[in-house]
């Protein structure tokens, strides 16, 4: 069956309208309609017999072109595949009609963005996406203040994109993306990169992310952080590829890497490290995940900035990994918040026996986040490190490695403060999160483990993208990835771990007598009798000793920097105001005379010419 991208977008908008109408009458049936329609859309995008054709139409002397390149097909799979899973998690929260409407509109505009091959329609759909996602961010009343920062940063990004596009048009008299004249223009490169750096929450322009992720509706945060932020890396590749790696190299190289890419890689590394530090010090579960998201997108920027085929493979691989595990973590956490009605880490604890399935899925998620082998998180880390090793970027390696070790710290904190430790007495009657939260997280954790055993499968798609971009592909089979330096066998290492674990577990079952179960009160307290186990919770300020060591880093804040810049401007204008409006009549008369004289003199000089 053949249809065009236009049809696809119209169908999605139509599905949104139908869902909204049904939801108006009955919330539950609306949610189920949304779920069924989203599964249908994902099926249409995935099923190989359906061919999505390009479309183009001309108005005046300008042609709009929509086409799915290999790169955009990858992102289409990502977005349309995650969409039904996120929608599934909304079923038990039963949102209002406009929630689903905007959700579908976001998907439509995202597909518009990744399929547009000309600058004007790219800008149009990109901005639509920002607008609709703003409308969903402020779905909860508490998020209005955070949403303001979000839309403000969105507008700054949009204006920068528009300026860049005009600049391109001024240079080339064309809105097409493949133009030769772009080579050598720093300004366009900056203007066309800024909106995507904002979307990916890279460090100096990340200020919207922590509050927006914290305050927005819990399930939507999964889509916002897990899926929508990936549009940033798509945009970067889409635009930077136009310059070509060789074109970018014209500006000089550092360590065999183009200067511009090197700068991006450093932005990414610093983002990764500082984001991780903030994550491990935050006291709120959604803020922890928000900073973790910022940090993880930093790795993608590092891989992207290296500008080699290994680096880009790492960036794309991590895009996939991060999409899966961050969507999943946010969905699991949304389920927990749904039951507990709190996001504070210090108010959770000991839920492992109450929520075993949530615990298991979160466990798989943090293993992938930490990049530890039986999950696919390792393969993306592996590619990024190999790229860094290959280009001999040792300082970047140090910062990135520090960031990824810091990821162990906040990952453990996440699982410890929610599930481990003594059970809080206030949470004694907590139930397992509802099924709509559990099913998508189970499906996603299955993918994380499966691709951990077969790391070459996603790499095959990524190799296709690399080849379509004219880069070398990475040598791989289904189970192995090999680079010029070394390689690893995912199936072997993972299955050996699982089998050794199985052997020891069987030995444990045979040799160990049946354990005597003891409760939380039955712990070593140096002889003190504990009646209130809440006092034994080690939860708030988990890494207090690090707070002391990173004190300087915590004090530095980009928000304060922006405030200071604002202060400087205020001071400057204040000085100017005091100079001009000083309240002295003589001064005003002199100013008028001076201005008149200037005009007269300039007129005279002009006249003499």
């Amino acid at each position: 069956m053949n249809f065009t991208i236009g049809h696809l977008i119209l169908v999605i908008v139509g599905a949104g309208i139908i869902t909204a109408i049904v939801t108006k009458f009955n919330r539950l049936s609306g949610s189920i309609t949304a779920l069924l329609l989203s599964i249908g859309i994902a099926f249409v995008c995935f099923y190989p017999a359906f061919h999505i054709l390009p479309i183009s139409f001309t108005t005046g002397d300008y042609t709009f072109i929509f086409n799915l390149s290999t790169l955009s097909r990858f992102f289409l799979m990502l977005f349309s595949g995650m969409f039904p899973l996120v929608i599934m998690a909304t079923v038990s929260t039963k949102p209002k009609a406009h929630y689903y409407f905007f959700f579908y509109l976001i998907l439509a505009s995202v597909i518009g963005t990744i399929s547009s091959q000309d600058l004007l329609s790219f800008f149009f759909f990109f901005e639509l996406m920002t607008l609709f996602s703003y409308l969903l961010v402020i779905y909860k009343k508490r998020a209005i203040k955070a949403g303001l920062v979000y839309i403000l940063m969105g507008i700054i990004g949009g204006l920068s994109l528009l300026l860049g596009i005009f600049y391109v048009f001024w240079l080339s008299k064309d809105f097409r993306i493949s133009v030769e004249i772009l080579k050598g223009s720093y300004a366009t490169l900056f203007l066309l990169s800024l909106p995507f750096l904002i979307k990916m929450a890279a460090m100096p322009v990340h200020i919207w992310a922590p509050d927006t992720y914290k305050e927005s509706e819990d399930v939507y945060t999964a889509f916002l952080s897990g899926v929508l932020s990936k549009l940033g890396i798509y945009g970067l590749i889409f635009f930077w590829f136009t310059w070509g790696i060789y074109g970018l190299s014209a500006w000089g190289k550092v360590f065999d890497v183009p200067v511009t890419g090197y700068i991006i890689a450093w932005i990414g590394a610093i983002t990764a490290f500082i984001g991780a530090v903030y994550a491990l010090l935050s006291e709120d579960v959604k803020k922890l995940l928000a900073y973790s998201s910022i940090s993880q997108l930093g790795y993608i920027l590092v891989g992207f900035g290296i500008m080699s085929s290994l680096g880009w493979a790492g960036a794309l691989y991590h895009t996939l990994t991060h999409t899966i595990f961050k969507t999943m973590l946010f969905i699991v956490v949304a389920g927990i918040i749904f039951r507990l009605n709190t996001t504070k880490l210090s108010e959770m604890g000991g839920l492992i026996k109450k929520m075993p399935v949530s615990f298991l899925t979160l466990l798989v998620g943090i293993i992938a986040l930490a990049g530890v082998p039986p999950t696919m998180g390792f393969a993306s880390k592996y590619l990024i490190y190999s790229a860094l090793f290959e280009k001999k970027l040792f300082l970047l390696t140090a910062v990135v490695f520090a960031a990824s070790t810091a990821a162990f710290l906040y990952a453990y904190r996440l699982i410890h403060n929610i599930f481990l430790g003594p059970l809080k007495t206030s949470l004694k009657n907590t139930k397992e999160a509802p099924l709509p939260f559990l099913i998508p997280s189970l499906i996603l954790s299955l993918f994380l483990v499966m691709f951990g055993f077969f790391p070459g499968v996603p790499l095959e798609w990524i190799n296709n993208i690399l080849m379509s971009l004219g880069m070398k592909s990475i040598a791989s089979t289904f189970t192995t990835i090999s680079t010029s330096l070394g390689g690893f066998n995912g199936l072997l290492s993972s299955s050996i771990f699982i089998s050794i674990f199985g052997i020891i577990f069987i030995l444990y079952l045979i040799l160990f007598p049946k354990a005597k179960w003891v409760n939380d009160k039955n712990t070593f307290t140096a002889g003190e009798v504990m009646h209130n186990t809440d006092l034994l919770t080690y939860s708030s300020h988990f890494y207090r000793f690090l707070e002391r060591e990173f004190g300087l880093l915590i004090k530095l804040s980009v928000k304060k920097l922006y405030d200071n810049i604002l202060g400087i401007f205020e001071w400057m204008f204040d000085v100017a105001r005091k100079l001009l409006y000083h309240g002295n009549v003589n001064g005003y008369v002199w100013a008028i005379i001076l201005v008149t004289l200037t005009f007269v003199i300039s007129f005279l000089i002009g006249g003499l010419r």
Partner: protein, 306 residues
Amino acid sequence: MNINILYAALAPIVAILLGLLYIGIGRKIIARLQRRYGPPFYQQYIDTIKLLAKKTVSSHGVFFSLGPIMGLAGSMVTLLFIPFGSAAPLLSFHGDIILVMYLVVIAPLGMALGVGEGSNPNGSIGMARGLTLMLAYEVPFVLALFSVVLYTHTTSIAQIVQSQAGEWSLLKFHGFNWLTFALPISAIVADICLQGMLGEKPFDQVIAPHEIASGPMVEYGGKYLGMMVINHALHIYIETALFVDIFLGGGPVWFFIPATFSVFILSLIINGVLPRFRIGQALKFYWGVPLILAVIGIIYTMVVIK
């Protein structure tokens, strides 16, 4: 190939026996440093067997029991990817040093889950400290490894071992090919990091018996404690074998075992005479001089290979 699989099956047992032996001899040496008589060198075997023979098992939950199992499995899979000197490469052709760096953390993370379910704050504090210590030493250590990769143009440990292979005769000293002599600064940095990896003083904040009642081990007793002791023995073998393979050229069995032992004893003697850092101080220490040394080591390597 078949012999290699046989070796791989034997490797964990050999590693456990070696690790326990090292701990036993280490206890004797520490005792002599402190002018005590000390236990016999086989005391650790007796202790472990005694612990494993205990009859009562008390558990706080499923993951409390699974934690030590996961830790053991993690350690065993790690040691299979580290060659046993140049005698047996085991599985190290199927995974390189980056894989090993990440496999190493399975054991502590698995243990951390069990410790957490033990719901004792001392254990949680110990784990928080352990992860912070990891954050401290991994950064200089990865830079030391970076210089090795720069020098040998490979990340495969087996190939790094091969690149240091030399003739073994009485007339020719094997050590001339060691990376310790080619990259002395990086070797020093890696040895400093080894002190933290082994958790010996001044970096024993994780256990810290006087402050947090043995930290992670606080809730574990009997057979679980026996498993943790075995895991500790495996851990000692893994870290020292990694160091010997990379910086001391692996070598045949008669060299490899004494080499790992002397690397362990070196860190144990330092342990015997030093007090404990605060965990914050440990982080500050590792991100100070060793980090700078590691960067100097890399620059030195870049100069050498040019």
